[in-house]
Symmetry: C2
């Protein structure tokens, strides 16, 4: 429990997090976050969970994602503005906080744009390690934007994927992916369409960004035994898989109340059967039951993943000595005397409000 003496908050800027990832190496970060995800999803019932709170506007969405267990409270602020890239801004910008449940004191504030990409990819790979056919080596990667390389490396690291069949409607995105993944030990096959990329793949990962009900994968593309990792469909009105793909598959989700609103299953009746992934990890529900079954991980991104990422960042930053301190909380001599911490206010205005408005 913090005392009045150590009320400062560890602050990890975007540059600090990039430095942290560079120092540890992205593969170690993917493994480290995946380990924490497995641990945290394994103790699912310890957490007080809420579907995220979204505020939609014409150009995007801003969301708050809180979650807590008995000792730590975490939340993430995250936006999604696909048009941002036109003005040189990232589509997704995020930061998050860890606080002590016992006192409410904020202990960590961290930029989470990079960590969101890492935890999303680690979560996808963790789910696929449980749900995809053993021995999966080839992955189709549909959508070659900001998240795509993280998915590629997470699947290389956690599943041993060695071949990527890549496609994007924007050839510049694919060119960027090829540049970034050069020399990473992955065989890269550039395809001319989603159907071509999907053909023969063990795993199909969709990470497209359009905020629209777009059908990326249709039933005719799906082969027996495939695992579909649907990452891009993550808010109301944004889907990637056609309804008949979902109908013919076993669908796994993070947190059902949130995925019903945001995931690909928003197209389906509310009684469409899904399994929460933690139940498979805990041995309460089966995952894949045959080599011909089609499995879908309808990923939308859940607050618990950010909790895991924030804990990973906090530990790694302490280990590496990274970050600064912020004073978000007043360091009052007497916490019952907030007023006494101010200089004595004059009985009349020091500055008239009109002067301030000027």
């Amino acid at each position: 429990m913090p005392t009045a003496q150590d009320l400062s908050t560890l602050y990890l800027s975007a540059a600090d997090v990039a430095r942290l990832v560079d120092r540890l190496g992205l593969p170690a970060c993917l493994h480290g976050v995946a380990q924490r995800l497995e641990h945290d999803f394994g103790r699912w019932t310890d957490f007080d969970k809420t579907a995220r709170v979204a505020s939609h506007s014409p150009d995007g969405v801003i969301e708050l994602m809180p979650v807590s267990d008995e000792s730590l409270y975490a939340f993430k602020y995250v936006n999604g503005h696909p048009k941002n890239t036109q003005s040189g801004l990232a589509t997704v910008m995020a930061f998050g906080v860890l606080a002590d449940v016992a006192t409410g004191a904020p202990r960590l504030l961290a930029s989470l744009t990079l960590a969101t990409a890492i935890r999303t990819a680690a979560m996808s790979a963790l789910a696929a390690r449980v749900l995809a056919r053993p021995g999966s080596r080839t992955m189709a990667l549909i959508g070659n934007g900001a998240q795509s390389e993280f998915q590629a490396l997470a699947f290389r690291e956690l599943l041993g994927i060695d071949t990527l069949r890549v496609f994007d409607t924007d050839p510049r995105a694919t060119a960027k992916l090829l540049r970034n993944l050069h020399g990473q030990g992955l065989r890269l096959v550039v395809c001319g369409s989603t159907a071509e990329a999907v053909r023969g793949a063990d795993i199909v990962t969709t990470v497209t960004a359009d905020k629209a009900l777009v059908t990326i994968v249709t039933a005719d593309m799906v082969e027996p035994g495939m695992h579909l990792n649907a990452v891009g469909g993550d808010c109301p009105g944004k889907t990637e898989l056609s309804a008949d793909v979902l109908q013919a598959a076993s669908v796994f989700v993070e947190y059902e109340p949130q995925t019903r609103i945001e995931g690909d299953i928003q197209q389906m009746p509310t009684d469409f059967a899904v399994t929460e992934f933690w139940q498979v990890l805990a041995g309460r529900r089966p995952g894949r039951t045959s080599d011909t079954q089609v499995t879908v991980f309808d990923s939308v991104g859940f607050a618990l993943e950010d909790h895991s990422a924030l804990c990973f960042l906090e530990e790694a930053a302490r280990h590496l000595g990274l970050g600064d301190r912020l004073s978000l909380v007043p360091d009052a001599a007497d916490p019952k005397d907030l007023f006494g911490s101010l200089a004595r206010p004059a009985a009349t205005h020091a500055v008239r409000p009109e002067a301030l408005a000027a």
Copy 2:
């Protein structure tokens, strides 16, 4: 709209906000925030509103309070841990963020512990200016803790209250209030009970902190024409007024869906009639209609008040040149290439995860 060049976030620490309040003077801040509150509550329908998202634990609560209009998104993080003062921590610690709706970029991160006290007091006084009898000069102040002096000065500034009848179950709290309000132009009458303090008052302000269904004000204490400003009852299980006080009064609230859960009206049937304060400001519903009517402002604290406070802080900090800059958002050369902003990761682990766990 920010560009890649100015993506930093203005940061106001707890000390910066205290400096800001000291420089302007608390009275000017109370007036300035009240002006913004009146403006923002006057355009109520411009805002996308949500009841705050609360996470309860045995010792307290942590809440997120988002609100947005078409240009600005605001949220506050705030806790309430009454036992904190035993270990030298404040009961309430808060910080908040303003972000651009058009892009999702965070433009301000500010400590809000002090600003929460100011906006709560300004909101109380604004409501009382509309709802209390004209010419009110005497206020009972029940609960003499961290919020009490702010209430006292807000009512002095905005209503011309000149006499306070004060009571707290803890005499040390009252002694602190007397010390802090010495020389502020207020006549201070120390009372031995709530009933004594309330007697003859025009306005009764309750700012008690116990997280319990405590009855502070009962029907026998209430006199015709009084205005009750119930500030302390602000979460489930925490009330201050007895049900028959509410029954006999006209009750005004900030945002009905939230107050039904958190306010003193949590004791009442769900169809108990209340009026949202903005409707009175907008002339859509009557406020006080007679000199004998008892009015209650059942205040719980709504996100819009923090939006107003954050906007006030941002403008004042710019005016005074206060604050630092944070980099919460990566300043990527190519926003579609998050991966490319990292140093090229090695194909094998730079640091093995086991080494990190050590």
